[in-house]
């Protein structure tokens, strides 16, 4: 009777242990990342942002220089008794150059911003996906303060870890 009881207890214990292990190993692994934070801290974003600012600054210098020339012309014309035809022609040419350059630069700046944003998002998405795979996540959610995640405990926030990973991946250090 005692022996039968012992076997019974052992069987129950084994079942409980198996069930706990099953729950432990089949539990879905979920975490979330703060998308704004990850995007802001992504090295590629910082590099391209600096590049974009530098290009835009150079273009602005060209436009400003043309604007100064046009103002000088205007002041000269205001004071002049008679306007020289050659000067008038030059002024018109400069005005046209200013308009066309300003328009082209505005369009190019927008296109370049869009191009860089696309490049950043492509690489960022790929690296975050790889992070999820490498760390065996079943779900990696993106919190962007738009209500996609209403509440989550901070312990599930892996943003800092993801930032380290994506910057290493961008550098090409992670194999």
């Amino acid at each position: 009777m005692n022996r039968f009881f012992l076997w019974g207890i052992t069987a129950v214990n084994l079942s409980v242990i198996s069930f706990v292990l099953y729950l432990y190993f089949t539990k879905e692994k979920i975490a979330y990342v703060n998308l704004n934070k990850v995007y802001k801290e992504f090295e590629m974003k910082k590099e391209l942002e600096n590049k974009l600012i530098s290009i835009q600054q150079n273009r602005k210098t060209i436009i400003d220089s043309l604007e100064i020339q046009l103002r000088a012309f205007s002041r000269h014309f205001e004071k002049a008794v008679k306007i020289d035809e050659k000067e008038q022609l030059m002024f018109d040419q400069k005005k046209e150059e200013y308009r066309s350059k300003k328009k082209n630069f505005t369009e190019d700046n927008q296109a370049l911003t869009q191009q860089y944003t696309d490049q950043i998002m492509k690489q960022l998405n790929e690296y975050v996906r790889n992070y999820g795979k490498d760390h065996n996540y079943d779900f990696l959610l993106g919190a962007d303060n738009n209500g996609s995640i209403m509440h989550a405990k901070e312990q599930f926030d892996v943003s800092d870890d993801v930032i380290k990973y994506i910057n290493k991946a961008y550098k090409g250090v992670i194999k």
Partner: protein
């Protein structure tokens, strides 16, 4: 005393183990090539974005000498000669391939034959300008460039690249930069650790 001796013995064993794991030793020709081709050893790296995969192989001069000798064992003289012809440059092979391995990467997202020819011309002559190496605080432009044209028969395209370097040894990590404007993936970086480059295995000769 016995305890002290045991600690000393264990320390010695540990030191030898650590030393042995740090030094890569010497390898025969075939093992050397296998070692270099193994992505875990830091000389071959891969990155992939939206259907395009980039694989970059850093090629030591020994590796190139073996390739020239068709994988056959080298004598010290032939190795020295082989290495000499590759001096002053740092060599890579870059492969761009499609994920599905069914399409020529040059045909990805194109709509006309003209576009294909334009892309072919770009990759044959202008793509060189998009490649750079950052090493020892210098930015080095690609000095040797050759696209291995397979005329669309393979789902990849290879580029043989060389960058003029003053020294074989590097003080900082070597960073390879590729600006992908064709597939709009932007700057694609590969970092080769200085430790890996400086401590590459020695090649055994006959």
């Amino acid at each position: 005393m016995g305890k002290g001796a045991l600690v000393l013995f264990l320390s010695a064993v540990l030191s030898v183990t650590i030393f042995a794991s740090c030094k890569r030793g010497s390898l025969g020709c075939q093992d050397y090539v296998k070692w270099m081709d193994n992505p875990n050893n830091g000389f071959k790296m891969t990155k992939a974005f939206e259907g395009i995969k980039y694989t970059l192989q850093y090629k030591t001069k020994e590796y190139l000498a073996i390739q020239d000798n068709k994988g056959q064992p080298l004598s010290p003289t032939s190795l020295a000669k082989g290495i000499e012809q590759y001096n002053d440059m740092c060599y890579f092979t870059l492969r761009m391939e499609t994920f599905d391995k069914a399409h020529d990467p040059l045909t990805v997202k194109i709509v006309s034959e003209d576009e294909y020819h334009q892309r072919n011309t770009y990759f044959s002559y202008q793509f060189q300008n998009e490649l750079k190496v950052l090493v020892n605080t210098d930015t080095v432009n690609c000095g040797l460039f050759s696209m291995v044209n397979n005329y669309g028969l393979a789902p990849y395209v290879d580029f043989v690249l060389g960058f003029p370097l003053k020294s074989d040894k590097v003080s900082d990590d070597l960073v390879f930069l590729l600006d992908d404007k064709t597939f709009n993936n932007g700057i694609v970086k590969f970092t080769f650790k200085s430790r890996d480059i400086n401590d590459a295995p020695k090649l055994l000769t006959n």
